[in-house]
């Protein structure tokens, strides 16, 4: 019985921690350290943008070829755009973004904050009279909220571009105009908004989990490594759960497709 009890209690700890960090963001505490927030935003852009877009691009290519072959099989190669539009925008991009966020940003946060914890830098912050939670976690969450919506939309763009390359330039069974006609017809701005909300929900969860595991790391350099590995376990599961819930809430049994009457 010990293992499930440990899980439940650490879930509760994470929820409490996340509640505090989110509340601090809304109280405007992060603005006391706005310089640090901007610095963290810069680190996110410079350090993570390229790999996130890179993964989005590769996943977009895969969506493109699967769609092209599937539509060829049903005898409607001109409609490959439907598959690309839905696969990229609604499902694949949020997941690709969540995977790369948890790998690059989530574990990075644990390694960074955990190292600060075990070399007693966090205690030093407290001694200096700076709230360490605000300085380390709240600023990072605010930075993520400031930067990531734009990064996410750019990732969707990278995925679209990759699908176009795969379907039109590589497989080449549909003209560029025909592809885009269907592609844009089967999506609209609310779809992009829902997709962005899904991506942002994943990003928020990942940043909070990363901050939690880093902030509570213990047991020397080895402990930081273990905490990093543990955060990745929770993050991968949560990314899939958020993805499923998002699909259920936003698209449920309503396809939002320009078909029928």
């Amino acid at each position: 019985m010990d293992v499930p009890r440990d899980w439940l209690s650490s879930m509760g700890d994470i929820a409490k921690f996340s509640g505090r960090v989110i509340a601090e963001v809304f109280e405007g505490r992060a603005f006391h350290f706005f310089g640090e927030t901007l610095r963290q935003a810069g680190i996110l852009i410079l350090g993570s943008a390229i790999v996130i877009w890179g993964l989005a691009f590769i996943v977009g290519l895969t969506c493109g070829i699967e769609g092209a072959y599937f539509n060829r099989a049903v005898g409607a190669p001109a409609y490959a755009g439907v598959f690309s539009a839905w696969c990229d925008l609604r499902e694949a991009m949020p997941y690709a973004f969540g995977y790369m966020m948890s790998a690059k940003v989530g574990t990075g946060l644990v390694a960074e904050i955990g190292a600060m914890r075990i070399s007693d830098e966090i205690d030093a912050l407290e001694v200096m009279g700076i709230s360490s939670l605000t300085f380390l976690c709240t600023t990072r969450l605010l930075a993520a909220w400031m930067v990531l919506p734009f990064m996410y939309i750019a990732a969707v763009g990278a995925g679209f571009f990759a699908s176009y390359l795969a379907v039109v330039q590589q497989i080449g069974e549909v003209s560029s105009g025909g592809f885009f006609l269907i592609f844009w017809m089967f999506q609209n701005p609310p779809d992009l908004l829902y997709s962005t909300i899904k991506g942002m929900a994943m990003a928020t969860v990942i940043v909070l989990v990363g901050c939690y595991y880093g902030y509570t790391a213990s047991g020397g350099p080895v402990g930081v490594g273990t905490a990093t590995a543990k955060s990745m376990v929770l993050n991968t599961v949560l990314v899939h759960l958020v993805g499923m819930l998002g699909t259920q809430i936003f698209w449920g049994t309503n396809p939002r497709a320009p078909i029928g009457g």
Binding site: T62, E66, Y99, V222, V224, V237, M244
Partner: protein, 268 residues
């Protein structure tokens, strides 16, 4: 000035290429010492196999059911319901689950859960200088640590793929029930569209994913360095390289399989 700019641009590229080369060398050494006698890695292999099994089964179960229900289940189901062809969802699951998402969700979970655990474990041993101690004792770390992990991850990833398939299809079943559709047509289109080529392609793909994960995690763990942050950084870099490698390999493999076996994409 020019030199500073050039350094900033090319040094990361150079170190990346060097690391890729080192990983290739590690792969070669691992393969060689796996087939060359003696074979002292039996016990470690079984331990690692069971360790991976214990660690990954629950995250994988939750993730594949969630993915199968959400992405292919609800989205494709919605589309098919418009045409009154929800019975075709089973056929779509061959494409979605067997060919695409079961393999990569398996790989994501094995990389995120198993790979990070291996990196953290080997990194801890490196930091505590246990690896150096092993070498001083005349024990080859590649033969005794990397080979068993490499083999265990390859086999366990391939087998977990079947597990992921089954639970992915369970997600599809849940989606079918959400649309109040009968399950008989789901299974009949699933089974009539599934081919052996799909299945072996899927298992082969995940086995190779397992090889990528094992080599990258072992390499990053065994080269961890740099104080308090070292092991954490190693885990971080390892999992990023694994994800990029997995998806890049997935694209090439899917493209090759689809192009060389046109019969698997015929809808029956």
């Amino acid at each position: 000035m020019v030199r500073a700019v050039a350094d900033r641009a090319f040094l990361p590229t150079k170190s990346l290429l060097e690391q890729v080369g080192d990983m290739m060398i590690l792969t070669g050494k691992t393969l060689l010492s796996a087939v060359r006698p003696p074979f002292p890695y039996g016990t470690e292999f079984v331990q690692q196999f069971l360790f991976m099994l214990r660690l990954c089964w629950l995250p994988l179960l939750i993730s594949t059911v969630a993915f199968g229900y959400g992405a292919p289940g609800l989205q494709a189901g919605n589309f098919l319901v418009i045409f009154g062809a929800i019975d075709r969802l089973g056929g779509f699951f061959v494409l979605a689950s067997i060919r695409e998402f079961a393999p990569f969700v398996t790989a994501i979970i094995l990389a995120g859960v198993g790979g990070t655990a291996i990196t953290a474990d080997l990194g801890a041993r490196k930091i505590r200088e246990e690896l150096d101690a092993l070498q001083v004792l005349g024990v080859d770390p590649i033969k005794n640590l990397v080979v068993p992990r490499f083999l265990a991850l390859m086999i366990v990833t391939g087998l977990f793929n079947i597990f992921a398939l089954i639970f992915g299809i369970l997600g599809g079943v849940l989606a079918t029930l959400t649309f109040d559709a009968p399950l008989g047509p789901f299974f009949s289109t699933l089974l009539s569209n599934a081919t052996t080529t799909d299945l072996w392609g899927s298992v082969l793909k995940t086995t190779l994913f397992g090889a990528i994960i094992a080599i990258v995690s072992c390499y990053k763990g065994m080269t961890a360095s740099g104080g308090a942050e070292g092991v954490g950084r190693a885990v971080n870099q390892g999992v990023v390289i694994e994800f990029l490698g997995i998806f890049a390999f997935n694209y090439v493999f899917t493209q090759t399989l689809l192009a060389t076996h046109p019969e698997i994409s015929v809808i029956k």
